[in-house]
Structure formats: structure tokens, C-alpha cells
Symmetry: C2
Subunit: 193 residues, 2 copies
């Protein structure tokens, strides 16, 4: 099977950005890691590193969206499904302390003042992941507006819990987040349709 | 007044890491930004960039701890005090889209797999900030264990909300987080002493 150079470049960049951040990742590193010739990088990404990073964010976004959708499909009940998603994330996290793709949260913090294009890409990823939670909550009969607020809040809480878990070196902050969910769901049930 | 070179180096590093991340910040940048001679950097920080970054994290930790303590002192009631802290953070954020010091969350994501020393420093900062929330909650008569769980969760939720706010370019995720707090406090009240 023919190797897809463009994909190789994107994946190599995602991996490098995970290890060294956006500013720590140079075009030379990308060439070395991907094995792609310099010319093909300029061919596929005429706008350079920022453009490759955008694609790496999109790749990560799609990958994580599929994962969320797949996990949330495992249970009918939105609360149980989201808790399961978080607890499965804990398992993956504790198995190898690793999550694949660009750490979107890190990229936001690194580039929020320097690249509107990347910031917008990261915001789109958060919106898409929040949207998965929101849809699941709506499918359980919650009002659209409340479900959207809750979906966004859940995504944001998970981002924070992941960072605390990374700093702590164990999954406790994620478990803590999963345990807080029923309280918030119970309250929001009052505004079900 | 004599300038304190060591402090200049630490502050310059905090500022650089905010703009370019840990891996994007080189010793040459630190020399240029701080105005300190190369020799004095090696004199004050014989272990190089990692050691300066540690001090920059500690400086940020202390700065943010003071801010949290000051804000939480404004109201007796823990829930109102923490909500006020978050809403005041929104005001500062929306005024200049800026928060001072090292973005600890970014540093965690950048260095969690490469520097145990820095990861531990970042964890200590999170622990100290969580501890401020915990103490305030305990002062309102909550049981120690529940207060600690809630304090850690609040810090982690604020970290996540800050990142979402940075990506979105406005404070809505932080306001959303502040609005969710009463629900969780109400539930936790059941286990007051």
C-alpha cells in the first residue's frame, strides 16, 4: 500500500507537538520524524508549520470525536454513558499515561496570543467534542439550551481534570470529575422537556 | 534600589514561557529578555533552564495563591466567595485576555513525559490552589474529606474553563463554571459536619 506522505507529515507533527509543544517543534524536526523530503512538506503545506499544525489539530479533533461517539454509544442513559467515557479514559491514561494526537489544551495556551487561526481550530475541536455530549444529553430528553450548556461544561471539566491527572501522575482527578456528574445531571433534570 | 538579577531572570522566563512554551524558550531568549549577563544566569541557576522554570512555576504559584486568598477573603460564604473569585477572573480575562505568570497547565502538558521535576512543581501549584478552596470550604463547616475533594475539583474545573475561555476568546466558559457551583455545593451540604 502506498504511504500517504501528507498523512505521515500530519501524524509526525501531532506526535512532535505532544512531546515538545508548538514552538518547540521545527520544520527540521518534522522532516526528520516524518521521513518526508523537505520539498514535499512545502508542496503539501505551502503556508508552513502553522498550516501543518492546523491539520494536526483537525486530525486529533476527528480522532477524539470518533472515540467519544463510540463510547457514548455504549449506554442509552447519557449520565452513565458520559461517566463510562471518563472512566475508560482513566483506564487508558493509567495504562500508559498517554493520549494520542495534539494536546489541544496545550496548543491553546501556547498560541492563544500569537495565532488566531490555531486558536480558532482548537475552539472548533472543543465545540465538536462538547457537541457529542450535548447530543447525547438531548437524546435523553433534556432541553436543547440546558443540554448545550451542560455539554460544554462537561468538555471543559474533562480538559481540566486531564491536566490535573497528568500533573498528579494518576487518574484521581478524572474519577473525581466522573463522580461529580450525577449531582449536576440531577439538578438539570428539573428542566427536562 | 538595586535590581534583583535573580528575580529578573525568573520573571523574564515566566513571561517567555507564556509566549512560547517551555521548549520554545531558550537560554539566549532568557538572557535577552532579562538583560542579565550569561554568567549570572549560570551563577544563579547552575542546573540551567529546568531550574529557572521551576522557580518561575513557584513564583506563579505564590502569586496566584495570594490572589485566590485575597479574593476568597472578600466574602464569608465559601460558595459566594469562590463564585466571586471566578467572576473577577472573568473580568481580568476579558479586560486584556491575559493572565500573568507561567501557564502551569501548558507546562504540565508540555513536560509531563519529559521532566518529573517540573511535573511535580506544577502538581504542587495545583495542590496549593486547591488547598485555598478547601480551607475556605472547611471554614464553612464542611467535613474535611468532602471539602478536599470539592476544592481539588473546583481548581481542576477552573483550569479547564480557563482553557476553553482562551480558545473561545471570551469568558463564557468561566461564567458557566461559576453558575454550576451552587448545584455541587448544595449536594455536598448533606455531608456537612
Amino acid at each position: 500500500m502506498k504511504r500517504n506522505t501528507r498523512d505521515d507529515i500530519i501524524r509526525a507533527t501531532a506526535s512532535l507537538m505532544q512531546q515538545k509543544g508548538y514552538f518547540g517543534t521545527g520544520l527540521n524536526d518534522i522532516i526528520k520524524e516524518s521521513g518526508a523530503p523537505r520539498g514535499s512538506i512545502y508542496y503539501h503545506f505551502p503556508n508552513g508549520k502553522e498550516e501543518i499544525a492546523q491539520e494536526a489539530v483537525k486530525w486529533t479533533k476527528d480522532h477524539v470525536t470518533s472515540l467519544i461517539r463510540q463510547e457514548l454509544g455504549k449506554k442509552e442513559d447519557a449520565l452513565s454513558a458520559i461517566q463510562l467515557f471518563i472512566m475508560d479514559s482513566v483506564k487508558r491514561f493509567e495504562a500508559d499515561k498517554y493520549f494520542s494526537g495534539v494536546p489541544i489544551a496545550a496548543l491553546v495556551l501556547e498560541t492563544s496570543s500569537s495565532s488566531d487561526v490555531l486558536k480558532e481550530c482548537c475552539h472548533e475541536a472543543f465545540e465538536e467534542w462538547s457537541g457529542e455530549f450535548t447530543s447525547k444529553i438531548i437524546s435523553n430528553g433534556f432541553k436543547h439550551e440546558e443540554a448545550e450548556r451542560l455539554g460544554k461544561w462537561i468538555n471543559s471539566m474533562i480538559q481540566g481534570a486531564f491536566i490535573s491527572a497528568l500533573a498528579k501522575g494518576d487518574g484521581e482527578p478524572l474519577r473525581n470529575a466522573a463522580e461529580m456528574l450525577p449531582v449536576v445531571f440531577k439538578k438539570t433534570e428539573n428542566v427536562r422537556k
